[in-house]
């Protein structure tokens, strides 16, 4: 199947099954999605819809039971652990609901982490980490530990960390779930800014006012796509 080459993510019949005791759980039952560069996508769905599973597969934290996943023109569904780790390091920037920062490390060291695993030299790492923190307006807090930062600041450190290795996609899982409404808006503004700068953003959420920031909303139910949320005029695969 030929696709236009500004397609960052392309999946075909993506399935994920796993054993829960004696039961076989079909988390994803054949999902086709297509995400282009610089799109801002929201993925919605009730619990049990498979949106977490889809996010884990897109984020290369896991491999599908069957089906194809092409990331930046490279099939990644059959990669081994080490190769997946490399992809995660280079192409994916995670932002989690619970921030997931290392509690005993400074903001700077937290942001440095992906660069350490990328094998970047110490001097370059520090420079790039400082740049990333500056991008989210936290340059003055780089020596603080997470417990010395507010929720919003922690999430911004997490975003800086996700950006530091210049990934193809930012993958955010309920990024404002642990924040109050004011801080949530701040963080959404950061994402908007990043989108304006060319970043591809995929955000999993169940809050409608968050999805309003996205260009398109993909809805999942019972492990299948219910709607691609295509905007008027843009091409869509499957249906």
């Amino acid at each position: 199947m030929t696709v236009p080459n500004d397609i960052v993510i392309q999946t075909h019949e993506l399935k994920k099954h796993y054993q829960m005791g004696t039961e076989l759980v079909r988390a994803l039952r054949g999902v086709d999605v297509q995400i282009r560069r610089n799109e801002y996508i929201a993925i919605m769905g009730p619990s049990g819809s498979g949106k977490s599973t889809l996010m884990n597969l897109i984020g290369c934290l896991d491999t599908p039971t069957s089906g194809e996943y092409i990331l930046n023109d490279q099939p990644v569904q059959d990669l081994d652990d080490d190769e997946l780790a490399r992809i995660r390091n280079r192409e994916i920037g995670f932002v989690f609901q619970t921030f997931n920062l290392l509690p005993r490390a400074t903001a700077l060291h937290n942001v440095e982490l992906p660069l350490i695993y990328a094998g970047v030299s110490a001097r370059q790492r520090i420079e790039r980490a400082k740049e990333a923190l500056a991008q989210v307006d936290l340059a003055d807090r780089m020596d603080h530990k997470p417990n010395e930062l507010s929720g919003g600041q922690r999430q911004r450190v997490a975003i800086a960390r996700a950006l530091v290795n210049r990934p193809s996609i930012l993958l955010a899982d309920e990024p404002t779930g642990n924040l109050d409404s004011v801080t949530s808006e701040e963080i959404m503004t950061v994402f908007d800014a990043l989108h304006d700068e060319g970043q591809t953003i995929i955000m999993v959420t169940h809050e409608p006012h968050i999805t309003a920031h996205a260009e398109r909303v993909i809805t999942l139910i019972d492990g299948m796509i219910e709607s691609h949320g295509a905007q008027v005029g843009s091409p869509v695969v499957g249906a």
Partner: protein, 414 residues
Amino acid sequence: MRILEGIRIALQQIWAHKLKSAFTLIGVIIGITFLIAVITIVEGVNRYVQDDFAGALFGVNTFTVVRRSQVSTGPESEERRRRQARNPYLTMHDVEVVRNAVANAWRFSYSVDRGFSQVSYNERSRKNIRVIGGSEGYETMQGWDIAEGRGLSPLDERKSLKVAVIGADIAERLFPDLSPIGKRIRLGANRLEVVGVWEKQGGLLGVIRDASVLVPISTYRQTMAWRRDRVEEIQVKMRSTEEMEGAMLEVEAALRRDRKLKPDVENSFWLQTSSDLLGAWEKINRILFVALPGLVSISLVVGGIVIMNIMLLSVAGRIKEIGIRKALGARRRDILLQFLAESSTLSVAGAAIGIGLGIAMGKTVDALTPVPASVPMWAIVVSLLLGLLVGVGSGIYPAYRAAQQDPIVALRYE
């Protein structure tokens, strides 16, 4: 890089939880402290024995003729001593034979000695002493220095005068506030006038000398000897080691001739040198060096098991952290190296502390005893390597467990 990260984290953890770290490292610390302390002390005693002890006790280039070997270093020498039990006692005739065989000896003397239950002065006494009857030249041969009074003279010997030179310990015990010179001490039924006191010898063998009484051999024979003709030891001192070796051959040949020993028969006497004593020490040395690794290993294995358990706990409590790192791109081997670096840093830190304590113990021994104890560099290097080895060995299983974590499962923790 991951290694540096691991080391950094490990040092942070050790410092943040000093008490817990101390308990974790106790096995390794004890093992290494013990290793360093024993090596230091053994090397020190080695040097002491070789430089001070053997030289002082025996003198260089000195050998003695005795009835049977006095040093036992194991089953063979035990066996030999048993055979030698039948050797005849040395006599004045043997003295003449030996004297003629080494006409060019630098020094020559002979002696008898025995234990004595006590020596006393008025109401004071010192128990379990040694009484030596020495020929002319005996004191010079031994090289003991006089602290007070004088040594024995040829006149004492010729006239069998009832005089004695006493060791420092006897002097202290019998004459705490006055000078012993001129006083009469009692040895059994005999009264002897003290003419001199030796300097305190101290040290491993000096304590025997300090509790000895020297009388002229003629006096000894008249007052205390069972058999007047008997000699315990004949001492010969040459000017050089080569001369000594040559002299020993001469003496051996002369005595064999005199006793008409057939060529296939063993000597019925024994020539003893300082190397016999050194040989005995060498044996002890070797035993220690075999036992030591065994004991240290036990300690280190225990220490390693403790570290492993602490690391397992640590891994169990950091599952989420592992998930985060993996999500950010850490491969299995990155996680493995990180935790291995942590356990190794712990262990090497323990070894370093053990080295410090071992050095302190060595310095204490050095200050409080005549043994010159200083830590050899190779022992420090070996200790650090052992620390590393224990760290890697004990950390490999926990690190493996950490590396195997599934990132999705791990991220869900807590």
